[in-house]
Symmetry: C2
Subunit: 130 residues, 2 copies
């Protein structure tokens, strides 16, 4: 379907609840595994160990009707338009994560340096860093 | 719908065909206007003139079955897995663009510094830069 997101893989991580996820990948997030589904394996050709990439996830637990939030869950903060934040709660819950590739197998199992999402989060794209 | 992209706005630009679009926004792409739809206007609160943001588009003319390509349309190049490229042709045709906000109106009309997509391209998210 034209406007339907395709899941190209999923995340395996020790993080199983949203409460234990760091707010950013740079805040002591653990290593994680990205499993690319077989039908997309060809697109991983040329990904190299040691390089940084942009990993895109679909934050499937997010609230897609949220338009404002209090940054960093700080109750004393002012309500902020979500396009000025990285809150997962937004119309399209796209997660973007700059990560380093630590290893990659021929079966499409990619180990990455740190990720702040929960186990089972769908992966939707990988791109070179900007 | 759970996996359906929501269009939060659209791009107005003088670029009307894919052939005239630069390959990257840094390659002499023209200024453009992002029109945010009224139902998402509240989420633009706190966006500031002069700041750089990540603009996400849905490259609706892309081929979503492409898994490899020749970078920069160079016929002599080797076939490269699309996750190592910024080709619009990919399973999820998400465009990511680092742009500067030049002006912003209360009606949600945002003028940005440069953009390489065609007129009418859907906008799907705005985030702070990484």
């Amino acid at each position: 379907m034209y406007k339907t997101i395709k899941y190209i893989g999923k995340v395996s991580t020790r993080l199983v609840s949203i409460e234990e996820c760091p707010l950013q990948e740079t805040e002591n997030a653990p290593e994680a595994i990205v499993e690319i589904y077989p039908e997309y394996l060809e697109a991983t050709k040329n990904l190299k160990i040691g390089t940084e990439v942009l990993l895109f996830t679909w934050l499937h637990k997010a609230n897609r009707t949220t338009l404002t939030c209090k940054p960093r869950n700080d109750e004393s903060a002012a309500l902020t338009g979500i396009f000025s934040t990285r809150s997962p709660d937004r119309p399209n819950p796209i997660g973007i994560h700059q990560v380093k590739i630590l290893s990659i197998s021929k079966k499409g199992t990619i180990k990455i340096s740190q990720l702040e999402v929960i186990n089972g989060t769908p992966v939707i794209d990988i791109k070179p860093i900007l």
